[in-house]
Symmetry: C2
Subunit: 502 residues, 2 copies
Amino acid sequence: MTTTPVWDIFELRLSGPATGNPYLDVTLEAHFTQRGRSIRVPGFYDGEGQYVLRFMPDTQGEWHYKTRSSLAALEGKVGSFTATTPLKGAHGPVRVANQFHFAHADGKPFLCFGTTCYAWTHQPLELQAQTLNTLTTAGFNKIRMGVFPKDYPFNTNEPLHDVFDVGADGKRDFDRPNPVAFRHFESQIGKLRDLGIEADIIIFHPYDRWGYCDMSAEQDNRYVAYLAARLAAYRNVWWSLANEYDFLLDTKPMERWDRFFHILGENDPYGHLRSIHNGDVRMNYDHTKPWVTHVCIQNWDVKKTPEWRDAYGKPVVNDEPEYEGNIFSAWGNISAQELTHRFWITALRGGYAGHGETFEHPEDIIWWAKGGELYGDAWKRIKFLRELLEQDVKAGLTPLGGTTSWPWSRMSAAEDGDVRYIYFGEHQPAQWTTGLPLDDGDYDVDLIDTWAMTIEPAQRIAPAIPHPTRHGAVVRGGKADAAFGVRLPGRPHLALRVRRRR
Amino acid sequence: MTTTPVWDIFELRLSGPATGNPYLDVTLEAHFTQRGRSIRVPGFYDGEGQYVLRFMPDTQGEWHYKTRSSLAALEGKVGSFTATTPLKGAHGPVRVANQFHFAHADGKPFLCFGTTCYAWTHQPLELQAQTLNTLTTAGFNKIRMGVFPKDYPFNTNEPLHDVFDVGADGKRDFDRPNPVAFRHFESQIGKLRDLGIEADIIIFHPYDRWGYCDMSAEQDNRYVAYLAARLAAYRNVWWSLANEYDFLLDTKPMERWDRFFHILGENDPYGHLRSIHNGDVRMNYDHTKPWVTHVCIQNWDVKKTPEWRDAYGKPVVNDEPEYEGNIFSAWGNISAQELTHRFWITALRGGYAGHGETFEHPEDIIWWAKGGELYGDAWKRIKFLRELLEQDVKAGLTPLGGTTSWPWSRMSAAEDGDVRYIYFGEHQPAQWTTGLPLDDGDYDVDLIDTWAMTIEPAQRIAPAIPHPTRHGAVVRGGKADAAFGVRLPGRPHLALRVRRRR
């Protein structure tokens, strides 16, 4: 019997007629059943008379399927396969876990450290290979990437493939997806999966000269359903309805965005993560809507991360806290120090920041859109942060205090179980006590230089005992607020890690 | 005839009985008249049978006065003096000018660059002399200073003088101000005046172990009126009702703060600037109230400066955007780079930031409270900024765009007449065009390194012409948004100055 590892893809490829327009005319689905469970899986037309069903089993054992189709040739096909133990390194799709965090289906925590290469799959193949090679060691576990090519400053080249067919009249036919383009796209998703990288697939974006922006509502809806049918069986898929959806509101009003979410819900049997990304900071989508799994925003003002957690009650992924680089766009020219700083602030306020790199390049090969090589200095520090947190963070980081609580409105600190981190950022105290353990137990306290990427034991000292202060009739302080303090070198961008010895 | 320069102090000292408690029992005022004008000037008791009236003339020529008093001995005294041309360097009290800015009475722009030494007049005299010596060259033109001594971390020493008399029972008598303390305090205000420094006098604060916090409403009101009578004739006086008034709301509810403003209005004939300073960032006083002349706040989040301008419609003085230092308090341990950065952001968003320095010191002699020496690195850069702006800014800086406008929500820029400044801060573009002149006229464009304090001509290049972008149906860009661009070195904390050649 055919076998497929759990969280891998069982593919059923059926032959049928290639006449007419099967994309419009033919319905195809299958029900995959195991004991009492039945999962409806939509199929799709892959060109040249090929009709495809893809299924990602999530439990081991025998699965049976039966197709249904508007075409007699595809109707009532039955079969079965056995789902086997997952491949090494396969932990299943990423889900929301512990309200504000993520974990793989097998429970492995997923601390999100994403980067952005919007149009990397539309570049020459050599460049795509280089991008994958860079990703192998860069330390990112998520990448934002568009289905459509990009027409934007520094992005003027034609894509490798047309996403929809170009007819004899030279016009794009949005009723005919180009199977070659999609086969390429999904093969790159597969390569990312094999690198352990989540593909945050951007379905729409406004930066277009090919007409993809101007598809009709019906065409948009059909395209979203097609993506779900085609790609949902890849365990590393995340759905991002748009980059900067708000710049498309003139042609795609809000109810259509809501509907796109519904279509994904109807056609993605696995419930992959679903988000939508704003352009203007005032135009966050209402992430409280139940079909949005997590908050995906762009906002440089990362100290607000706890506000977004509070506002939406979901994981916060700030995918554009501005990018490291030197291009003329203000969102793409912050220093490596600043981006590293924003990653630490975001993480220690209970969110997840996203990376991008936008350095001028003689041939406009800029990581944020085309991939290639990384030229900056932030990515190494971000990798260092990821590795540091992955040592100890299990449930996810909960920030100490909110945006107005003392002193964590000014600095950033978070904890998870027995581990606590304090990030001083632009602050440079020569000693520190607040937030350290209340008892003098068995703790390791380490001093972390977030830029030099060093970790060394912090020098313990007596806790600071401030003179009491009187606020009206209320006397405050005059006692230490932790059992001990640490001596610090008095320079910015340092952090502390406090762990109970295990 | 007696002469007094305009904006200097004409003092009338009358002798009377020292029996009873003249502070409570005797009323004294005078009307100073010149042609049709009549100005009511309250007097005060200076101890030892001395009753004093102080008047600051604002116009030249002959002034006549006549006293009124509840004491026959002080009633109906008449006299006159001639107000002569102002002393060199005297420009009169600072007023609000151009809605969001300040100017002296003679029209000289006042670009506010303040520092903070809360309790410097309560320190040993040698230390006070050192503070004045430091201020001579430090480049600040305003200082925040309290009438009362301070009881706070790093501030545990007894003050030089009791502000109110200590009776035979060892208790402070809040019905008897100590003339020695006030004579000393005003002599220091006079020395600041002679250095060209405004004294931002903090009337109340919560950090107290002497009982000043617990005076009755009547005692508070009388004390405020006494300060006005005693100090208002100093041209460099500003009134700051409190440092961190909100921490005193439990004993002094809001209506009392409003009343203090009224009392100042009733007893300060010159209408010196009046403000009140919050502690908690959520507790800004309602600065739209008509008796508040300008916004005085503490808030580290300086990119919000345009929001405060919009909210209150008055000059914004952010006197505590955190301090340079290394003490354990989060408000007092940011780096010099960060404080310099916050000054530039505040200035180029149309506000005025305040300086403070809080470095650990073996004897707790910390500038922010006690004065002494400056140990940090920000003050030099702040002085550089002041000198730079004073070259060209006349009416005051108007920010380009608000907190949400592109790209000035991310970077900071402002203009005044023919001069415009752009501060890139954490941004490091390799070239820049936006905000530069629309015509290719006769401009000097200078590149400023805000940390190295260098000014050099910027290298002009062709303007950036970005590829057009399509937002839905709207095509944007594709053309330069200024007549020329500049090449930049691609590192953070740089600024541009653009001036039309005159």
